[in-house]
């Protein structure tokens, strides 16, 4: 375990452009990770403002703030921006910062491509934002872009499609980079089955991305061709089938859901053992469970389409396959519990978010099981029940894991401890307001309120009001997060972080690197026993 790190930089790396050009031309995985994280935080606030506008309109029945057409643009853009702009880039940011440090590599395998895959994202995001200002406005067909509605849209849809193409290219490049880095650049002695869980989950996620992003690209390219080049992929009058779009989209879309949750599982699997001061209970079974979830994700897509009129045999197959996912997901949750069991736990902010993650993510898992049961799904498909379900897994799941990861690693990234009191406030406010926002939506969905409607029947008023109040509380609480990360990340304030601030953290970045991690780390690879 030698690998002493030279904190003062090596001669061949002495040239650092400064100012803006440092960020534009950087090939350093830490800089690029930082860019990804700030980009995704920006997009989180953009998507959040759209969401709050929606919730404001839905505060009471009647049309008050936005007209129905613009409302649909807002729902669509909220979805696209949060999925492709906030959650996915945040995890890539974590991958960039953490994977090289956790496997003892000096940088990512393809440093220049890494730069390119980040800088594509602001371009794509600009296209999305510009689409609001073209005639006809932004795409308004829902983030799922179902045809023929997406065929009806104005030029905003074309901008949206190009944006998705670009983001897809960025994701594929990022994934190739991650796979190559993990498979080729691990420190001597770090076998695959000795890799930290976060690295494992990202390896699997990267394969999922490479497999499905081209599928999405194909689907939206066909939409583009149907819109402008007279093809009839999805037009029944020309021999096409609108339902085929849904099959292709969800063949991408379901693995996409796991792309957004597997890295979260990885983060949680690092945080829980660190704060329980106890090794992860079933490392091998966690690896197998993650792989099973990834494989199953390819054979369950049609559970998003239980109401399109599939044949009975198809419905049964997709129902059973979907229910099966509960088994490996259960294994993961039980493993985390067993890791906590008889540990010596402390509850700093990362641990709070991790435990909060398990609690709310499991609730999202329960409703997911409910949705797997086809006859029940028929009742709640396309209602607020589904809205509640996927926000429980994506906000309380992915986003809380991102928060947990940020608090966990920010001492390593910035060399400063975050403000623990404010961090705890951030957790409790987020947790409480999240549930005030989304829990009532289960009731709304069961009672029969469809999703994506700008106005609703009077019996849905009370729960919508509660949800709106919760949403504003949740949104405003995130300003606290912004303040906390700005304070240690940009202004460099706060207590100086030791190399290993968490007693139970034992991966290479804690044991071998000082805080903040030097610009170039692991110039010589450590030996892992």
């Amino acid at each position: 375990m030698s690998a002493v790190i030279d904190n003062h930089g090596h001669d061949e790396h002495a040239y650092h452009p400064s100012g803006l050009m440092r960020w534009v031309t950087t090939t350093n995985h830490k800089d690029i990770g930082t860019l990804y994280l700030w980009f995704s935080l920006t997009m989180l606030f953009v998507g959040g403002v759209l969401a709050l506008t929606l919730r404001a309109e839905l505060f009471q029945p009647g049309i008050q703030i936005v007209n129905p057409e613009f409302f649909n643009q807002l729902t669509t853009m909220h979805g696209l921006i949060m999925v492709f702009g906030a959650i996915m880039p945040a995890f890539v940011g974590f991958a960039n910062w953490q994977i090289p440090m956790m496997i003892g590599a000096p940088d990512m395998a393809f440093a220049r491509m890494n730069n390119w895959s980040f800088w594509l994202l602001p371009v794509a995001a600009s296209l999305l934002v510009i689409s609001f200002f073209v005639p006809g406005g932004a795409p308004a067909a829902g983030w799922t872009l179902y045809v023929p509605l997406s065929i009806q849209m104005g030029p905003g849809m074309d901008l949206g499609i190009f944006a998705l193409h670009i983001m897809g290219a960025s994701s594929i490049m990022g994934s190739i980079n991650i796979v190559t880095t993990i498979l080729n650049m691990r420190a001597p002695g770090m076998t695959l089955m000795k890799m930290p869980m976060f690295v494992w989950t990202w390896l699997i996620t990267a394969y999922l991305l490479i497999a499905v992003m081209p599928v999405l690209a194909g689907a939206i390219t066909m939409v583009l061709a149907d819109r402008h080049f007279g093809t009839s992929f999805f037009n029944a009058a020309g021999g096409g089938d609108p339902v085929m779009f849904q099959h292709i989209f969800w063949f991408f879309g379901h693995p996409e859901v796991y792309i957004m949750i597997l890295p979260a599982f990885g983060i949680i699997s690092q945080v829980i053992p660190a704060f329980a001061r106890k090794p992860l209970f079933g490392y091998a079974s966690m690896v197998y469970a993650t792989s099973s979830i990834a494989i199953l994700s390819f054979i369950v897509w049609a559970h998003h389409m239980f109401t399109v009129g599939l044949p009975t045999a198809g419905l049964l197959f997709f129902m059973y396959a979907t229910m099966l996912i509960a088994v490996p997901t259960g294994v993961k949750v039980f493993n985390w519990l067993a890791t906590m069991w008889k540990g010596s736990m402390t509850f700093e902010t990362p641990m709070l978010f991790a435990v909060g993650f398990i609690f709310v993510f499991t609730m999202g898992g329960f409703t997911g099981l409910m949705l797997a049961i086809m006859p029940v799904d028929v009742q709640v498909q396309d209602t607020y029940y589904v809205v509640a379900h996927f926000h429980y897994v994506l906000v309380a799941g992915s986003l809380f894991a991102i928060f947990a990861g940020t608090y966990f690693w920010i001492p390593k990234w910035t060399g400063r401890m975050y403000d623990e009191t404010l961090g705890k406030w951030h957790f409790w406010l987020s947790m409480i307001f999240f549930n005030i926002t989304f829990f009532p939506m289960h009731f709304l969905g069961l009672a029969g309120m469809p999703r994506r409607i700008p106005d609703y029947a009077s019996q849905f008023t009370e729960f919508n009001m509660i949800a709106t109040v919760g949403a504003f509380g949740f949104g405003l609480s995130q300003l606290l997060f912004l303040y906390i990360v700005l304070k240690c990340g940009v202004f460099g304030k706060g207590e100086k972080a030791p190399a290993r601030p968490w007693e139970g953290a034992d991966t290479l970045e804690w044991t071998h690197l000082p805080s903040p991690a030097p610009y170039h780390s692991f110039h010589e690879q450590p030996e892992v026993k």
């Binding site: 179902y146 402390t346 099981l369 009742q379 019996q459 109040v469």
Partner: protein, 375 residues
């Protein structure tokens, strides 16, 4: 911190309490009125109990651990990990529970898909943004009508108090007899819609160019309300479905009324109408079909929905005006109305549009002219 938390929770409870005071809102599915809907209700309840049990066990363990195995109470971490027996147990138990859930779900699913031997077959067609119903087979064969949102625009825009069935009311409800197996064929004219009546436990997407089917047998008379469940554009939230389930006698009478109405409505296509008659009828047709996009003021919602007031088409060549109403305009949201509206209705609405707001062409369109453009 605790006092703030306490206040927050207190506030939430108060909010919930005030909600409980008004009887309208509900926590669960609507009361089922078909066998399938009640099976779905029971399935959901069964799942809820299982989920609650699992919830209590899993989080009971978690919160006990959080309470007992803290560093602050001096608990020392044990370093155990990997235990094959435990891991097999927690893989097998969920699997067994899942099989227990899959069994009743499979039975309901198979019954849900069995659309054979219906008493009455009705085709439901989704339009942007209304439903059309055609009685294809069984008692009532030949009856056909459109079903529009009946809630007035001024309620939606908060100029008048909202009615009891705000957004869940239509001009012509679907009427079916109680206790009969009704097969619903769904299709759509433009984009995908979804035919959903929660009390019946059915939701079937309506896909343009394809026909899908579902079925229900309502056990209780009454009025049941649903909505389009698939995002279908601007007025997705404004195309409700209302089904009236009536006794067989009442149904027979309703069918008779519909047939009489149809005969009465079969106007002489060569009748010459007066301008006032056309304008009065046109205003109604406009309010039912055009107002959502082109607005009551005729100003539209540009750029997607252009104004008619002062537009080149509505003040220019009559033939072009008739043509766009009949055939729509491809590449825009303007739908073809040729199949939905009669010659007389189209003549009336075109006349109305040419003479309403600032448009003062002074001309009128007779049904015969529409007929001529149709060819």
């Amino acid at each position: 911190m605790n006092s703030v938390l306490g206040r927050l929770i207190g506030g939430l409870l108060l909010a919930l309490n005030s909600g409980l005071a008004s009887a309208a809102y509900q926590l669960n599915f609507q009361p089922p009125v078909t066998r399938i809907a009640s099976e779905i209700y029971d399935l959901h309840m069964l799942m809820m109990y299982v989920i609650l049990a699992v919830f209590c066990v899993v989080f009971g363990v978690m919160f006990y651990s959080i309470y007992a195995h803290r560093k602050s109470v001096g608990h020392k971490a044990e370093q155990f990990h990997e235990n094959t027996t435990v891991e097999i147990i927690w893989t097998v138990i969920p699997f067994v529970i899942l099989i227990g859930m899959a069994w009743p779900a499979t039975k309901t699913l198979i019954a849900f898909k069995d659309t054979s031997n219906p008493d009455i077959t009705i085709k439901a067609t989704g339009y942007q943004w209304k439903w059309g119903y055609d009685y294809l087979k069984g008692e009532g064969e030949g009856v056909a009508f459109l079903s529009n949102l009946a809630t007035p625009q001024d309620q939606i825009h908060n100029q008048k108090p909202k009615g009891e069935n705000y957004l869940l009311e239509v001009d012509n409800p679907l009427v079916v007899p109680v206790g009969k197996k009704i097969r619903v064929l769904t299709t759509a004219n433009d984009v995908i819609h979804s035919f959903w009546v929660p009390a019946f436990g059915i939701k079937q997407d309506a896909i343009p160019g394809f026909v899908r089917d579902t079925w229900f047998r309502a056990d209780k008379e009454g009025t049941y309300r649903g909505q389009c469940a698939e995002l279908c554009g601007k007025d997705h939230g404004f195309m409700p479905i209302v089904v009236e389930v009536v006794s067989p006698e009442k149904y027979a009478q309703w069918v008779g009324d519909q047939k009489n109405k149809a005969t009465a409505a079969a106007e002489d296509p060569n009748k010459q109408w007066s301008a006032a008659e056309l304008k009065a009828r046109g205003e109604k047709v406009y309010a039912a079909n055009c107002v959502a996009c082109h607005q009551i003021s005729g100003k539209g919602l540009p750029p997607a929905f252009p104004p008619l007031d002062g537009s080149a088409i509505a003040t220019g060549d009559k033939k072009k005006h008739i043509d766009i109403v009949l055939n729509g305009k491809t590449g825009t949201a303007m739908a073809p109305y040729g199949k939905q509206l009669s010659d007389t209705d189209i003549a009336a609405v075109v006349t109305y549009e040419r003479n309403a707001w600032g448009n003062k062409t002074g001309d009128m369109v007779q049904p015969a002219e529409v007929k001529a453009v149709r060819k």
